[in-house]
């Protein structure tokens, strides 16, 4: 940590005037920035690349280091600062970014979610269309990535990797003891029956849930709705024309699961402790994004297919609920030339392989050689490439605006964190997304 800090050195004060002129230039070129992408010819004081992200610990930190290393290899001459902003998940990063943008001293690029999440940065993001064009990203990225990285008709960001959301992980020995075959669970009701079986046959927690934050429950809602009510209903919900009955039915299932089959301390633990229950064999199932699998890889003697397994969330087979880790491009960029180079790098195979194999996510390009990834991620990549549908996630920026997401989480907080009030939660969710 201290080493990092030494690297933080000064920002781009070097010459306030220089920065100001650059900002002016960038502002002018915002509309139709020609071909200044290539070689970062501006040099001089605009040359330092400053990237903010929130990967401060564990898998994330390792992955970020790998990314920086790969970047240095590719662009040894670019002066750069990768500043990890820790604390509160993404909260501190968001606050720092917001403050920097507000005070008109944007970083070169910052990590964030694309999709409707871009709306919160309306008016302060620049155009990286030239990078997309020059690098041919439109041809190599999945179509959803192409769509979700645009706002107001321009590309605002470049994707780095993708996690999957509709995942159910299980501890093999616990489900075997209970006599449950996870692969047979192809509907939410079958899943609930399986939870009941685990409850009666073993001492283990049927489903571990870490609900100290509301996001895990909102996330579970999205997978359950997708699995139980289907793709159309889920997409209608995101699009702001929810079917109230579908929302209610989802909440009824959730109330049954959360009311009967989760751990006693769910509301005071977070994802990590919850996930620990799987590793230690205290629980049978957990629903999470596939970042949860990162902890399994790091655990000793805990191997894929032997000790833990993966099942697409019941009912959502054939679908891949999307998540993107991307870099967003602020306008008035302090270093437009080198930022373009960095953005081109982010979408490259080198960067995506370096980062994702440690992060436990997969490349957003479909043309990447997956040999360096483990068997689990290779399977994920196949599912990704072959998925019938890739619905955007609800909780991580791609499905709804950050405002709507906050409203949804407020509803979970007040109506659905035990006792579970199906009526109020249904009403709250319908109101929150309805246009």
């Amino acid at each position: 940590m201290t080493d990092q800090d030494k690297r933080l050195s000064r920002r781009h004060f070097v010459g306030a005037t220089g920065a100001a002129t650059l900002a002016g230039l960038a502002g002018c070129s915002g509309g139709g920035d020609g071909g200044d992408g290539g070689d970062g010819g501006d040099g001089g004081s605009g040359g330092t690349l400053e990237v903010l992200h929130a990967w401060t610990g564990g898998d994330g930190a390792t992955a970020a280091e790998a990314l920086v290393e790969a970047f240095e290899e590719e662009y040894p001459d670019i002066e750069h600062e990768f500043n990890p902003i820790g604390g509160g998940g993404n909260q501190n990063l968001d606050a720092v970014v917001a403050n920097r943008l507000q005070n008109n001293e944007p970083p070169s690029a910052f990590a964030g979610w694309p999709g409707p999440n871009l709306q919160r940065y309306d008016g302060v993001l620049g155009d990286v269309g030239s990078v997309w064009e020059e690098e041919g990203f439109e041809d190599v990225m999945v179509q959803e990535a192409v769509d979700l990285h645009q706002q107001n008709g321009a590309y605002r960001a470049v994707p780095l990797g993708s996690h999957r959301l509709n995942c159910l992980f299980y501890n093999t020995s616990v489900v075997e003891e209970a006599g449950v075959d996870p692969d047979s669970l192809t509907s939410v009701s079958a899943f609930i029956d399986a939870l009941e079986t685990v409850q009666s046959e073993t001492d283990a927690i049927p489903m571990t849930h870490g609900a100290s934050g509301t996001w895990t429950t909102t996330q579970l809602f999205s997978s359950t709705m997708l699995g139980q009510e289907g793709y159309e209903a889920y997409m209608d919900f995101l699009d702001g024309s929810p079917d109230e009955e579908a929302v209610r039915a989802t909440f009824e299932s959730l109330a049954e699961i959360l009311g009967n089959y989760i751990n006693d301390d769910a509301s005071s633990i977070g994802l990590t402790e919850s996930n620990q229950n799987i590793i230690e064999g205290n629980a049978a199932f957990i629903h999470q994004g596939n970042w949860a699998a990162g902890a399994y890889r790091n655990a000793e003697d805990f191997n894929y297919d032997e000790d833990w397994g993966f099942k697409t969330y019941p009912g959502s087979e054939g679908m891949y609920m999307l998540h993107f880790d991307s870099f967003l491009y602020p306008s008035d960029n302090p270093s437009p030339g080198v930022t373009d180079q960095f953005m081109a790098f982010v979408g490259s195979e080198a960067a995506q392989v370096a980062f994702n194999q440690y992060k436990g996510s997969i490349p957003t390009r479909t043309d990447v050689d997956m040999s360096e990834f483990g068997p689990y991620l290779q399977e994920t990549q196949e599912d990704f490439a072959n998925a019938e549908e890739r619905p955007p996630n609800l909780q991580h920026g791609l499905g709804v605006t950050s405002e709507t997401m906050t409203a949804l989480n407020d509803v979970i907080s007040s109506e659905f964190s035990g006792p579970y009030n199906v009526d109020a939660a249904t009403q709250g969710f319908v109101d929150a997304v309805s246009n």
Binding site: G88, A98, S267, S268, D410, S414
Partner: protein, 328 residues
């Protein structure tokens, strides 16, 4: 009682406050003399001491509150700057319609009243214990007051651990008593009381110090008289002593309530983020979250005004009370 003072070596225009209307030096109208005439002889000269601090406080405290009120009338959110051209009360109506705001306001009120009462109660108990002519009084007092010297950030760490579901002291105790484990910080019906308990731990020593000062200001004869009347110790305190602690109670309550309104630091540190555990959201946390996590600046300002009015409702009468007693 007029008294001549002069400004010594500072300047030539000696000032008299004799209430003369004509300027004594005869050099025409002097604004300084006029000011001194109006406000008192030392007004101008002493202003070099109190005016700069006063301006600083005026700007940062009162200027900022007025500015905050202005912002709360705009629709300022996201990036950019507030538009002061379009002022309305929309943010206030929005707050009243939002259940999250109402919940936070109710929680704030519960925390305020509950915390103040239990802390005063415990503080009074401690003060009486310590006042019973005990040995090692200093040691006891020092330890009782010790948590008060700690940061909310620090005490939040301690209590997050105390309330830990599996390994915390409190649950070890309750389960060994056969009461089972309780999800103190996770259960929305309990968490506010758990927070209250932790805050009581931190501030009971403060209430003790205030009460102790109050107890020691009571003349010995009152104790003696009660004893002569044959009153039991409990009766003596209840009938004779506690009624005399009204002043201590009032000033301690005000300070404690203000602490409760500021419990933001504690709740933030408990979870390491802007959103406190479900059921423990108070106006102080909601305001900061709306502003710095959601960038709803105007809305946050409106919540801040609500919080300010709550404070004013407590402190206003107190200041008036102190003013009437000549303590200002």
């Amino acid at each position: 009682m007029t008294r001549n003072t002069d400004t010594g070596d500072d300047s030539g225009d000696a000032v008299t406050d004799g209430g003369v209307t004509e300027d004594p030096s005869g050099s025409g109208f002097s604004p300084i003399a006029a000011l001194n005439d109006r406000f008192g002889s030392d007004f101008v000269e002493s202003s070099q001491f109190w005016l700069p601090p006063f301006l600083l406080v005026g700007l940062f405290v009162y200027g900022a509150i007025i500015w905050n009120f202005l912002i709360s009338l705009t629709d300022f959110s996201g990036f950019g700057n507030p538009n002061y051209g379009d002022l309305d009360l929309e943010m206030y109506t929005r707050a009243l319609a939002e259940s999250g705001f109402v919940d936070a306001a109710v929680n704030t009120f519960i925390l305020l009243v509950g915390f103040t009462l239990v802390t005063l109660g415990l503080g009074l108990g401690l003060a009486i214990l310590v006042d019973r002519n005990i040995r090692f009084e200093n040691t006891f007092r020092t330890i009782y007051l010790l948590p008060m010297s700690l940061s909310f950030v620090v005490t939040a760490q301690f209590w997050a651990w105390m309330f830990n579901f599996n390994n915390g002291v409190i649950n070890i105790v309750t389960s060994s008593l056969g009461l089972g484990r309780v999800d103190w910080l996770g259960n929305p019906d309990i968490v506010l009381w758990a927070v209250m308990f932790a805050l009581m731990w931190q501030f009971a020593g403060y209430a003790m110090v205030v009460y102790l000062a109050g107890l020691r200001a009571i003349p010995n004869e009152h104790y003696e008289a009660a004893k002569v009347d044959g009153a039991s110790t409990v009766r003596m305190y209840w009938r004779v002593i506690i009624p005399q602690l009204k002043g201590s109670t009032i000033s301690a309550s005000v300070v404690l309530m203000v602490f409760a309104l500021k419990a933001f630091d504690f709740l933030y540190s408990l979870v390491g983020g802007y959103r406190p555990p479900n059921g423990a959201d108070i106006l102080a946390t909601k305001m900061v979250r709306e502003a710095y996590a959601n960038l709803n600046w105007a809305y946050a300002s409106a919540i801040a005004i609500a919080l300010f009015l709550m404070t004013l409702g407590i402190v206003g009468p107190y200041l008036y009370y102190q003013y009437n007693r000549g303590n200002l």
